[in-house]
Each structure stands twice: as structure tokens, then as C-alpha cells.
Symmetry: C2
Subunit: 107 residues, 2 copies
DNA sequence: GGCATATTTCGCAGAAATGCGAAATAGTCG
DNA sequence: CGACTATTTCGCATTTCTGCGAAATATGCC
């Protein structure tokens, strides 16, 4: 039988969703979908300042969505939760009214 | 080949994630996982005031996560995007470090 | 119509998120 | 060490989100 989720569990999940709830952060996620990128590339793609992008990245990292690795002068970010990308495709399909084949949603 | 998502598309997805980014709203979603509920039941489960819960519901509905139906004096809410619930299970599993079988994530 | 119940809308005060530029930090190269 | 580059942290002004109680709306009942 199912137990009622604790507030802590809900807050932890909410943190992930909150992190994903910003268009620029979803852009970053899309950029990272096919492999790691350094911050400089993401700054260019998002089109706002370094400090802003850096904070977006730290939010995503704190939520467990991304991980980073420093190599030389640069920091590279990559997706830590691949199901997020596939879930997004699922969302898009479902919201367009398509009858979604759920099986395909979390590859 | 993949086209770069437009800002509008990203904003639309972000709206869904933003709606899910609050523990009380996730509680509501959990309550609705096994069927519709009237607002009064949700108010009791969430444990904050009517006006607050009502706004949480309107946020979720605006994002397309829930739908509502009025029957008599009561309004019943239900989940419109079932993949959200399964995605959440996937998240939990992935975040616990489990090697997740993605196939099971969006039933 | 008039009253009771269920829910939403409104207005407000406090909390959190955002974006920015300046300053701090860390790694590399000479 | 000193100059330079890549990135993060800080402080601040602005906007958005939250929760609450009061008032508004809608529905059913007598």
C-alpha cells in the first residue's frame, strides 16, 4: 500500500521542478541534451550575462539535474537526470493533444 | 535534424514545471493520482486555507496539468497529464542513485 | 426570493526569484 | 610572482509568488 509522502520528500521533488521552471534553464538543458558544454558556450546560447547563467547552472546543479566538472580553466556541465529530457518530449506531445504512447516518454 | 526551440515553446514548458514546483501542489497531485477529488478533500489534505488551495489548483489547471468539472455544489479536479505522476516516480528512483530502468518511467 | 454551502476572486503584506555589474576566486602561462 | 582568462559570489533593485481573510459568485434547497 502507498504511504503518504512526507513534506521533505515533496520539497525535494519540488526543488527539481522549480529548477526546471525557467525558460533559460530549459534552453540550457536542451543545449546539454547531446553532450556536455562549457559555461562560455551556454552563455552565448542563452543570451544573458555570465553571472545570470552561472546562477541558473548552480540552481540546476543544486537540484541534482546537472553535474559539473572542471578541466583546466573551463567548467563543463552535463545532464545528470536523462529522464528529464525524454519527459519533456512527452509533455510536448501530450500538450498538443496527441494521443501519447507513454512507453516512449522516459527512454 | 533538431531545430532550436523557440522562446515561446520553452516558456510553455517552463509553465508546467513552475506549476509543479511547490510542495503543496505536489501533494495535491499525489492525492489525485488515484482518481478525482473535490476541493474540500484537497483543502483538508494540504492543510492550508481554501483560498490558497484554490489558487494552487488554478495554477495547475492553467498549466494544463489538471482539469476540473463542476457537479452540483462541488468542483472535482483530476490529472490531465498522467505522465507527470510516473515521471515523479522515476525522479525519486534516479535521485536515490538507483540505476533506473527508464522504460518504466512514463507508463 | 432568501438562506446555506462550496469555491473563486481580490487586495494586501511578506518572502523568494531574477538580472545585473562589481568584486572575488581559481587555473594557466610566461 | 604577475598578467590573463573562465567562472562564481555578492549586493542591490525589481518583479513574481505566497498565504490570508474578506468579499464575490454559483448552486441547491425550502
Amino acid at each position: 500500500m502507498k504511504t503518504r509522502a512526507t513534506l521533505k520528500q515533496l520539497e525535494s521533488r519540488a526543488e527539481v521542478f522549480k529548477a526546471l521552471g525557467h525558460p533559460d534553464r530549459l534552453r540550457i538543458l536542451a543545449d546539454l541534451a547531446d553532450g556536455e558544454r562549457c559555461v562560455c558556450e551556454l552563455v552565448e546560447s542563452v543570451g544573458s550575462g555570465w553571472s545570470t547563467v552561472s546562477r541558473h547552472l548552480s540552481v540546476l546543479k543544486a537540484a541534482g539535474v546537472l553535474t559539473d566538472e572542471k578541466r583546466g580553466l573551463q567548467v563543463f556541465y552535463r545532464v545528470a537526470l536523462p529522464c528529464v529530457s525524454t519527459f519533456m518530449e512527452c509533455l510536448d506531445a501530450a500538450r498538443q493533444g496527441e494521443a501519447v504512447e507513454m512507453r516512449r516518454c522516459c527512454r
